[in-house]
């Protein structure tokens, strides 16, 4: 997919692309039979919908959240003990 265009098939099958583009404030041109049909762009208030996290930030969270096997076993035992 070109970064700024999306076909009607892609729109149906990969709507997450649209959500991601809108979250990044990036308008998309909708193509129908390879010709431009419409423009999809975020509403002005969409920018205030919340925070944006970078891939590096998310990767760091995942790294910090990792547990050793021993920690996993301890937590499993702990969860089982919870009322």
């Amino acid at each position: 997919m070109n970064l700024n265009t999306i076909s009607t098939k892609q729109l149906r099958e990969n709507f997450d692309w649209v959500l991601t583009a809108m979250a990044n404030n990036q308008p998309l041109t909708l193509l129908y039979r390879s010709k431009p049909l419409a423009e999809i762009k975020p509403l002005p208030q969409a920018k205030t919908l919340g925070r944006s996290f970078s891939q590096a930030q998310i990767n760091q969270w995942l790294k910090n959240d990792q547990l050793t096997k021993s920690q996993q076993q301890k937590i499993n035992a702990l969860v089982n003990r919870l009322p």
């Binding site: 979250a23 996290f53 995942l62 959240d65 996993q72 301890k74």
Partner: protein, 144 residues
């Protein structure tokens, strides 16, 4: 409903969905077993939804967590509460997370954001709500 109530930042929900064997993943598992109550706001769920693609996750996985009430939703906090929380964080965009935890009246606020949420200032002002990472949360429960 389990007595242990936990408010989740978007970072924890994303990490839990991406990595079931991480500290955040165990939170989702414990909530599925109804051992703890996990709470978030629509604003936080929106943030999670917008970042799912970065972890190759799908919206339907998030919907399942909500439909099965693994994560329970409360209303977004009022602007007046959010504005009071803005002075507590380096990034005012994080204020709604703190406000959500206050309004939800939970035992814990869990986040993986060391820079803006897991800070001394936030921990001090949100007391008696304990502001921890998921790993710290599990460590704190050892004596539970």
């Amino acid at each position: 409903m389990p007595s242990l109530t936990v408010f989740l930042d978007a970072s924890v929900i994303l990490a839990g969905m991406a990595s079931p064997q991480g500290g955040s993943g165990f939170l989702l598992q414990a909530a599925k077993q109804k051992k703890i109550t996990l709470i978030a706001t629509p604003l936080i769920i929106n943030e999670v939804n917008r970042h799912l693609a970065k972890l190759k996750l799908q919206s339907k996985q998030l919907k399942t967590l909500l439909n099965r009430q693994v994560i329970r939703l409360i209303k977004d906090p009022e602007e007046i509460v959010i504005s009071r929380c803005r002075r507590l964080t380096a990034d005012p965009d994080d204020a709604h997370v703190l406000a959500g935890a206050i309004v939800a009246n939970v035992n814990f606020l869990l986040s993986l954001d060391k820079k803006h949420i897991l800070t001394k200032r936030v921990k001090k002002h949100l007391f008696p709500i304990r502001v921890l990472s998921p790993k710290q949360f599990w460590q704190s429960l050892k004596s539970f």
